[in-house]
Amino acid sequence: MSIKLTIDGKEVHARSGENIIDVASQNGVYIPSLCYVKGKPCLGTCRTCSVKVNGRVMAACTMPVADGMEIEVNDDAEIVDMRKALVELLFSEGNHNCPSCEKSGRCELQATGYEVDMMVSRFPYRFTPRVVDHASKTVFLQRDRCIFCQRCVDMVRDERTGKKIFSIKGRGTHSSIEIDAELANDMTPQQVRYASDLCPVGCIIDKTQGYDDPIGQRKFEIKSIKDRALEKEHR
């Protein structure tokens, strides 16, 4: 069923059942997102996609559009700053030394930092010590960079048994991303690449991959994350 709603005051048409992120990008409006993967069930973990729906803050990836909805993405200074603050929070919660990160230039967190114009985090940088996990033969976990989006937990499974390979242990400040090293050892090279590409940050690192692309020719330098998100929709 076709419905009508407004995004930043502009009237748009959509099919009911679609989520706000997708409808916005079909209409040329980029909403930053870090856990959402188009075509996969929403995780709703990062809140980077927060927008105002009829004046209330909602995660755009988890919220289906409805007739008459008034959505504010960029028109409302408060929500724009709230998304920026959420990104800043992730940078101060982990240890993000981009110059020494294999994912730099391909990292969705970094690219999103640029889109929200983050220069510095308003929150104190925490410098929590986190141990790197080298146990598996195929990938290592650089835990400093995990943003707990749960993409790997939900979307990477052992191909034979369907068991989860990644899991999150503990809660709150004690959370840590864990890997089942035995299952991980059985991952095919394709699955390893899928997992390391799926991780929005440089936490799951394919042991065969290094700083492969020269600076200036890396993924988000060739085309920004925003342009990529919008382009997917226009295709």
Binding site: N97, P99, Q110, S224
Partner: protein, 210 residues
């Protein structure tokens, strides 16, 4: 603490020198004073300051560069309009210099990852300071065999801070240019905007964290 009166310390601008021609001095003093200071960094950001290249020439009728990699004086000799700083705070001397610099700059700008959040030197923040000292001086793999193991400590040596701090956790910082290092393009953009009264605006495509 007054810096020019530390024992045995003479700053380069206090050394005997032929006075500048009064006319040149007056012209220079009338310009926008710009400086760049380095704290705990690798001088990479200061090199980016040099990467403004010939583009700085176009600004020189409006701008006078006091302390920087162009001039190599230790401290700014007089008040500055715009101060850039590279590097984070890793010892007591960094704190002294930064506080004095802040007092003497109208606009203070953190340049580079080290200044903005600690950067490469802050990789030691996840290790207790004691272990860092032990690794560097006691169990150092490169120590001369048989040499006495000492952790340097002397009243003339700056005291190392427990953690490397971003500048804005020590003094007020007005603006931030991230990057390790940021390009000369970003620095000239910011400087040019201030000189022409436009205010700070680092466009998305110039922002980078590595």
């Amino acid at each position: 603490m007054s810096h020019s009166h530390n024992k045995n310390e003479i700053l380069s601008h206090e050394l005997p020198a032929t006075p500048l021609d009064p006319k040149i001095k007056a012209e220079r003093d009338a310009k926008i004073q710009v400086a760049m200071m380095g704290l705990c960094g690798c001088w990479g950001c200061t090199l980016s300051f040099l990467d403004m290249d010939e583009r700085i020439l176009g600004l020189l009728d409006k701008v006078a560069i006091t302390r920087s990699s162009f001039t190599d004086v230790k401290r700014i000799p007089h008040r500055c309009t715009i101060g850039f700083v590279e590097g984070g705070v890793a010892n007591s001397e960094n704190i002294e210099i930064l506080e004095e610099y802040r007092e003497n700059c109208d606009i203070l700008i953190s340049v580079g990852a080290c200044a903005v959040w600690g950067g490469v030197p802050a990789m030691r923040n996840v290790v207790p300071l004691e272990e860092c000292f032990v690794e560097a001086y006691v169990e150092s793999p490169t120590a001369v065999p048989g040499a006495k193991k000492v952790i340097p400590f002397h009243e003339d040596l700056p005291i190392i801070t427990t953690k490397v701090l971003p500048l804005h956790e020590v003094v007020k910082i007005d603006y931030f240019i991230p990057g390790c290092p940021p390009d000369g393009d970003a620095i000239i953009k910011v400087l040019d905007d201030f000189v022409h009264g436009r205010g700070f605006d680092l466009p998305t495509e110039m922002n980078r964290y590595d």
